[in-house]
Symmetry: C2
Subunit: 446 residues, 2 copies
């Protein structure tokens, strides 16, 4: 006997909210707020939220619903009030890529140019790394800071990157963990509400969003990336935040280094003026956007010139040193790269013929480095800071037979062999030179 009980309304409200989303109806701000509150309070079960998330995934959320969800997520925890600093605070977020060490360079760079850079960052999951994991390659570096320490450091050093505080947006942790195991991650409104709730709660005035598109990115196609980027901008602006979007390519790894310690080494080289062209170009573009909005009286062109000067002068590298020391890390790593220990088994991949690199698949490289132990399969898993790869040859580079294309750092010969084979498969070659993909679309897209 089956029955849809239409008696006893008071017990039915949760199911009714799931049903209305299932039927494509728009929920009010109060309804979404109550639903999320009840979830955080344990009245809405995980299996009810996952059904709602799947309905939202398949039926979509309106802009109003997405904003309500973000607002409810923010209200689930504390928010940082950075107004006592009396300064414009800038922040940056990337949707994740392979070899993406941009924050490690951008933070010290804009701080050395006079801006205040305050960022809370996640840990890596799957084949893309996380800034916090990379920073923890530095001996002694603390990524767990309370709000007071975060604000003090912004006052003293104008630069702080800490792990996501559990007091901020606790709903996001629970929702993301649930989405991850119920095939509801890849949704524009859910993704936008997740990212922007954390950005708003962390208190910055200006956020640059680096939205990556391509093989190694969360977004494989430009249309979806542009949609979510625009949505994130609308969500931030609704909360009084300036949001600038850059859409950038993730067909091949960014720079050469992929891993943890090996990426910090490359970030330090870049701050010392010796960075790879694509990384320097992207960091400079983001710095120009942030500095021109940081209340420093600089337009975008002046901001880009100032950034170049700070890389040139060593000011950016000095800021890196100062920052590492402020968070308890060993600042010697800035002058002595070997402080950032790499795994002991080093193998190289060599070209077998003459030609040009025509593609270097970012996902394949990311997965190879993940398999070495640099990433985590599940939250809470440890990562190996010393393993990684350096892909010297990139798209458009000419290579000769026998030339070194890439190096891996592994814990065993067997693991190194697997990684070398994977990297070999990531490369394609052509007889004619192929233009590398442009790093970023010119200027902000939104």
């Amino acid at each position: 006997m089956i029955s849809s009980c239409t008696c006893g309304r008071e017990a039915m409200d949760i199911v009714d909210l799931i049903q209305r989303k299932r039927d494509g109806k728009e929920l009010t701000s109060d309804e979404i707020g109550s639903f999320l509150d009840a979830y955080m309070g344990g009245e809405v079960a995980e299996y009810q939220m996952s059904a709602w998330l799947m309905a939202a995934f398949l039926k979509g959320l309106t802009l109003g619903e997405t904003r309500s969800l973000m607002d409810a997520m923010i209200a689930s925890g504390e928010t940082l009030d950075l107004s006592p600093l009396g300064r414009t605070v800038v922040d940056k977020h990337s949707t994740g890529g392979v070899g993406d060490k941009v924050s490690l360079v951008l933070g010290p760079l804009v701080a050395s140019c006079g801006a205040v850079f305050g960022k809370m960052s996640g840990r890596g999951l799957g084949h893309t790394g996380g800034t916090v994991d990379k920073l923890e390659s530095i001996p002694g570096f603390r990524t767990t800071l309370d709000s007071g320490a975060f604000i003090s450091q912004l006052q003293e050093v104008a630069l702080c990157i800490a792990g996501q505080s559990p007091e901020l947006v606790p709903a996001d942790d629970r929702l993301y963990a649930l989405r991850d195991v119920t095939a509801t991650v890849d949704s524009n409104p859910l993704t936008a509400a997740s990212i922007m709730s954390k950005k708003v709660a962390a208190g910055a005035d200006v956020v640059a969003l680096d939205v990556k598109v391509g093989s190694g990115a969360f977004f494989r196609n430009r249309g979806q990336a542009a949609g979510v980027a625009h949505l994130m901008q609308q969500l931030g602006e609704a909360r009084g935040m300036q949001v600038v979007i850059l859409m950038t390519s993730m067909e091949q790894p960014l720079g050469h280094a992929v891993g943890n310690a090996v990426e910090v080494r490359e970030a330090i080289e870049t701050l010392g003026g010796n960075g790879p062209g694509d990384l320097v170009e992207l960091v400079t573009a983001l710095a120009a956007e942030l500095l021109s909005r940081a209340g420093l009286g600089l337009d975008r062109e002046q901001a880009a010139q100032k950034a170049a000067a700070c890389l040139e002068s060593g000011a950016a590298l000095e800021k890196m040193e100062q920052w590492i020391a402020a968070q308890g890390g060993d600042p010697a790593c800035v002058r002595e790269p070997e402080v950032l220990a790499l795994a002991p088994v080093e193998r190289t991949l060599k070209a077998t013929t003459d030609g040009f690199v025509s593609s270097l698949d970012a996902l394949t490289v990311g997965q190879a480095v993940f398999a070495l132990g640099a990433g985590r399969r599940r939250r809470g898993d440890p990562v190996d800071h010393g393993v990684g790869a350096v892909v010297q040859a990139k798209v458009g580079d000419g290579v000769a037979a026998g030339q070194e294309l890439a190096t891996v750092y592994a814990r065993s010969g067997a693991a190194a062999d697997v990684a070398i084979a994977a990297l070999g498969a990531a490369y394609s070659f052509s007889e004619e030179r192929v233009e590398p993909p442009p790093v970023a679309e010119t200027g902000p897209i939104c």
Copy 2:
């Protein structure tokens, strides 16, 4: 940092199955079987199953997937093997209605005509009652029987109606409870797989499906009902079962009595040849379908004549007595209706003007009787066997001002007043006589 982990396949199969259903892909029989096994074994979490159910609800299941789901549900428990009886066993299922005491009449009727009728039945939920609850109005009647007792009774009495055995299709209990709280009940393939898994596991050779359509039914529109009916037939036939479908009206209650004991009283009157016209018509139609497929050498017309004769002769009523005694109930109730105790507060609803009953809303009547305590809001709640209503005046009946339209049996005056007011609202009147809705479409539809 967001990432969709494409590393570590072995941990991802569950999410992959959810994702493929989410994307509208067809899953194989093995995949659905493994998914349900893993759910029953605790490897697939409730929140993963509910996400899958919502995806299945919104994207649909193919016939193959629906059959695979039914097969996997059947395989989750034991099945009854009725072949040792050496007889064709017939069964019947209703999708639920108001005043639906058909099984209480049909079982003894077809058994008295020479067929073997074996049925496992559910309990009521919401405004529709359940056969097992109604039977428990009879003092001493046992509805919990093990497989051995069920088969023995079929051998001795040719008639047994027991509660759903927990050993059969345990997956259905868990899935239904989950669907009930995640707004995924109202899905044709999920509904069809649920019903037919239980019918197949219970071992009958022939099943008559009474698919009700209208205000008081699970299905409000004929199109949806016909779709699920056809699907159930295909599922049954795939397992070698003969399935005959009758689509029947549930715009007004069936017969006059609505409740538990009060419905058993009406069933007994009907078996004694004094039943309401619509109930007799429906029971006779179903009996003709079952008897003509029961290996008795009767065609449908002969079967209908035999059924009418058994009602007339008292054979059907004798079978009722024999059956009640076999299941431990007090057979005196067949001759002494007061053995089936009604609640003490009796009130009547009277017509305020002359005219004709133009409608009597089944859902409103069902909810009124539910509110008196005859139904349960949640599984496991107790029901009150004594409360109920008798709606004497039905659609097409002429009434005079002051004439009794309906009677309620309640536990308190206040409850009776509420029920009377609700029944008053269920009736509509007209000056011209309105034809009552036909009980059933002529003949089986599939």
